[in-house]
Amino acid sequence: MYNPTEATMTVQDTGAIKMTARNVNVFYGDKHAIKDVSIDVRADEVTAFIGPSGCGKSTFLRCLNRMNDTVASARVTGEMRLDGQDIYDRQMDVVQLRARVGMVFQKPNPFPKSIYENIAYGPRIHGLARSRAELDEIVATSLKKAGLWDEVKDRLNDSGTALSGGQQQRLCIARAIAVNPEVILMDEPCSALDPIATAKIEELIEELRGRYAIVIVTHNMQQAARVSQKTAFFHLGDLVEYGPTSEIFTNPKKEKTKDYITGRYG
């Protein structure tokens, strides 16, 4: 059953580690895409993955909810846990995992359906609402949490694709929220948006922090510096440096991190 307050309840275990990765390796065929990465994602924090293109940060992000499963040649070794439960275990139902670990993509990708249907789809397939009224409630709550309610409440039956880019992306975030996830993965959520829309998403991330563990991949280092508490720098499949964002952006320990952050890379 859906309970909007449940999401906020998870804030209580402040500092709890939500997801862990230990010695994770990912191969695409012969390509060693992720090399021995270990990382902790905390429940009350925004974790940012930065690094040059092709460094494996998106690959790693997609491992966290097994979106890479669909790539036939991808192979993952090592250990990844969500609340201590191995997500690559055979016991783990991948559909349920993705409901618990939601995802927001680079390009806003609302379904070509109404705004209402976009949000209602997830709860419907997971059976989270028992009645139409309950579903309406979920849709409204999700849109409110995503800061989109006031903009769309009068046109819930309009197509989701008719919204502006930034609104579409917030719709996608609302859609992810609607299934009441524990972790939200964001794969460069602002790369297709203008600065104002970007600022709104960043504000939204700030508001969602605490209710959900958030992992964000971004090419925009300023954005990582603005929204995250922890930053991980990936380079050629290695996790070069992982630490508090305040440290990474003022005093990185590794030369590679410094060169990348200050724009001396390559």
Binding site: M221, T250, N251, Y265
Partner: protein, 240 residues
């Protein structure tokens, strides 16, 4: 700096920034030396030149500040670049203060030139040289990004403090013995205090240079200091 920035003009900006600081540093050093010289040679004209010369430093500080704001706005520096830019901003302000102290010394030198010389003033130029040397070294440390040199400058402040303490005692004794010389003696005392403050500022710059280069704050246990408020708690060093 191992490599250059992908955006070359960012490097130009940083170079320009350093050039501002070294220009200001050079001027400040010359001002200190000039003020001391004017004091020792009892040359009021020279002292007046020093007083008006301070405007150049003020002007440079303004220019540097404008440049730094521009750089922050346009480049959004991070990590060592960020430290570099912020350090420059702070150092520029400190050098400007040093310039002010030099100006104040020059003003007092004109006053002292009007009256007959007093005995304790003879050790002031010695102290002035020591302080000017500190300013020069700390700016060299800044220019060469030399944290070690900064650290030695920082530890040399003890000598300045010792100088000041002995001068202070000497002046007190002198004033007790020659109450009619209290006015020039007070001027000398303030000159000594100004030099001591310059020394403190040089130490502050040394701390900034150290942070700029290493990213770490210096340990707060300076040999002797009244600047403990500047040090910050709880940054454990991760140096290998």
């Amino acid at each position: 700096m191992a490599t250059t920035h992908t955006v070359k003009s960012f490097d130009d900006d940083l170079r320009q920034l350093r050039s501002y600081i070294s220009q200001m540093g050079g001027l400040a050093e010359a001002q200190i030396m000039g003020a001391i010289e004017a004091l020792a040679s009892r040359n009021p004209e020279m002292a007046m030149r020093i007083v008006t010369g301070d405007r150049a430093i003020d002007h440079l500080e303004m220019e540097a500040e404008r440049h730094i704001i521009q750089t922050i706005a346009r480049r959004q520096p991070l990590a060592d670049d960020l430290r570099e830019v912020i350090s420059a901003l702070k150092i520029a302000a400190l050098i400007e203060r040093i310039g002010d102290y030099a100006k104040n010394i020059a003003k007092r030198a004109t006053a002292l030139a009007q009256v007959s010389p007093i005995q304790p003033v003879v050790i002031v130029p010695e102290m002035g040289k020591l302080v000017a040397r500190m300013v020069k070294d700390v700016l060299d440390a800044y220019a060469s990004r030399d944290a070690e040199l900064a650290r030695t400058v920082w530890s040399r402040d003890k000598h300045v403090d010792d100088f000041y303490a002995s001068l202070f005692r000497a002046l007190l004794t002198y004033m007790m013995e020659n109450p009619q010389q209290i006015t020039p003696s007070t001027h000398v005392l303030f000159i000594a205090k100004n030099l001591e403050r310059i020394g403190d500022h040089a130490t502050n710059i040394a701390e900034i240079v150290h942070f700029n280069v290493t990213g770490e704050y210096m340990e707060p246990d300076r040999p002797k200091g009244d600047e403990t408020a500047f040090s910050v708690h709880g940054m454990e060093s991760d140096e290998d």
